[in-house]
Amino acid sequence: MAANRWGVSDPWREARQLQHEMASLFDSVFGKREQASPPCNVFAGEDDLLITCEVPGVSMEKLSICVIGDTLSIEGERKPEEVERSAYHRRERHTGPFRRSIHLPARVNADQVSAEYHDGVLNVTLPKAAEEKPRRIEIKAS
C-alpha cells in the first residue's frame, strides 16, 4: 500500500491515481469532460469524518443530506438566474439538480451527523460508530 509523505498509508491513493489516468485518457480523446459535481474532500479524524463540499449558490432549503449504511448522499439544486430579455455574454456556471453519493471509509453514527453551510461550502461531520473508534488498551505491569 502506498504511503504518503508523512508515512501514513492512504488507501484511496491508488484508486485516485487510476481515476486520474482514466480521466486524462478520456480528456485527450473526447476533450474536457464534466467533473464529478459538486466536488468533495474527505477528512478522517480519530473520532469522526469530515466531508467538505463546494456547492455555491444553493439555498439551505434546497440541500438535503442523507446517510444510508456507509453512503452519504448530498442532493440539491442550483437555480438558474431569472434573466429577462437579455443576452448572455458568458455562461460558465452550472445549474440544475445535482446528486453526489460518497462511500464512507468508516462506519458512522447516523443519528449524530451534523452539517453546516457557510459561504457556499457544506461541511458534514459524521461521528464514527463506537466500534470504529480507537480503544486505548491499558497494559498492566506484573
Binding site: V8, D10, P11, W12, R16, Q19, H20, A23, S24, D27, K32, Q35, A36, P39, C40, N41, V42, F43, A44, G45, E46, D48, L49, L50, T52, E54, V55, P56, G57, V58, S59, E81, V83, E84, S86, A87, Y88, H89, R90, R91, E92, R93, H94, P105, Y117, D119, G120, V121
Partner: protein
Amino acid sequence: MTLMERKEAAPTRSDTELTRQARQFVPDVDIYETEDSLMLIADMPGVKADRLNVRLEKSILTIHGEVGTPDVGERNLIGAEYETGNYYRAFTLSEEIDQDRIEANLKNGVLTLRLPKAARAKARRIQVAAE
C-alpha cells in the same frame, strides 16, 4: 489534466508573482446584459465578504477573493476532489460603467455584481464653446 485541476489555475497579474505562496483559481462566471446594466455572477465558494476585493480601474474589472485554509482540526485528508485557494479574474469592459453605482453582493459563495451602464448622452456630449 488531473481531477485536482478541476478549478482552472489563474495566471498571476502580468509578469509578477504573489509574495505569498497560494494557489489561485479562475472563478466560473456568468455575464449577461440587461437594458441598463451589465450583470456578472461568479462562483467563489469559501470567500467571505470581507475577503473579497472588486476593483474597476480604466475599464479593467478585477475580482479577487481570498479563501483561508479550512479548519479541519486534527483530521487527515483522505480523499480530495478540489483544492482551496484564492480566486482571481480580470475583465476588460467595453461598455462605459457608472462606477459610483456599482453594486456587489456576496451570498452563499456567489458574487453578484451589477455594473450600471453610464448614461451615454452624458458621457458623449461635449460642450463646444463658440467664440
